[in-house]
Symmetry: C2
Subunit: 128 residues, 2 copies
DNA sequence: TTTGATTTACGAAGTCCTTCGTATATACTT
DNA sequence: AAGTATATACGAAGGACTTCGTAAATCAAA
């Protein structure tokens, strides 16, 4: 029975998760190549971080071949949810709606996005 | 001209900022008492953290009396904005609207809040 | 086969964050 | 005045995070 009380990923770990969410299961080499497209990072740095993430339970790996294949254990949506909840609690006094209002007010949204949000609100109001 | 490139506050620093935003300028004793209402924290721990925050430019202090009085240099709204932007960049691929949609969909909102958000959207649509 | 490339494992350095003990100075109380 | 309480300053320990060097094993190429 897997323990689902996984730790919140750090910034560096989040970068690796993004890559694995995009690529699916991948080797250290593949992840490091993807990270290297954005910034300079040593191969063993990426390796070490991914090994630590396995220890933490954030990643799992297949070691049946010489080149180990890693995959994300945590889902992107769940991770986003945890980080969101964390920010709401820490900086918005627990009010997710305060966060929504500030995000809406300070970031440019396209008309399509605004329509999508309106539709979502309609649905929420019906559920009440 | 003050340099406004202030660092992102840590979790512990954010707790102290919340207190100072609520109380206004206050002593270490007052801040520590407020923090102690929620969790056990030593007086010198709070003192040290607040001194570090002065070094970083997050707080300013009046040392004209024996008991120094500290105040937040950064505004609550600006800090929220920075943390929000950070989360959007790190976990939502830069899309603030993806964040809004996830927050709306996964947190309970009161009808009043939904009305407020709808009104905000109406205003945004007129500005387009 | 020998050489070079790739991969994993291990450990250690450096930084940042949190926490607290101790020393020193100042104010208050009796 | 003596002793107690309160405040600041300083340093250091411990943990977490990031980074990388080096060693050992495996594979590929000359």
């Amino acid at each position: 029975m897997a323990n689902k009380n996984l730790p919140r990923p750090t910034e560096g770990e989040l970068e690796i998760l993004q890559v694995l969410w995009a690529l699916g299961p991948a080797s250290v080499r593949q992840v490091n190549d993807a990270l290297s497209a954005n910034r300079s990072v040593g191969y063993t740095t990426t390796l070490k971080l991914m090994q630590i993430m396995v220890d933490k339970g954030l990643l799992a790996r297949d070691t049946s071949e010489r080149t180990h294949i890693y995959r994300a254990v945590v889902a992107e949506r769940d991770t986003r949810q945890n980080l969101l909840q964390n920010l709401v609690d820490q900086a918005f006094g627990g009010s997710a709606m305060d966060l929504v209002i500030q995000a809406l007010g300070s970031h440019r949204a396209t008309p399509e996005e605004l329509e999508e949000i309106k539709a979502l609100i309609e649905r929420l109001e019906k559920d009440e």
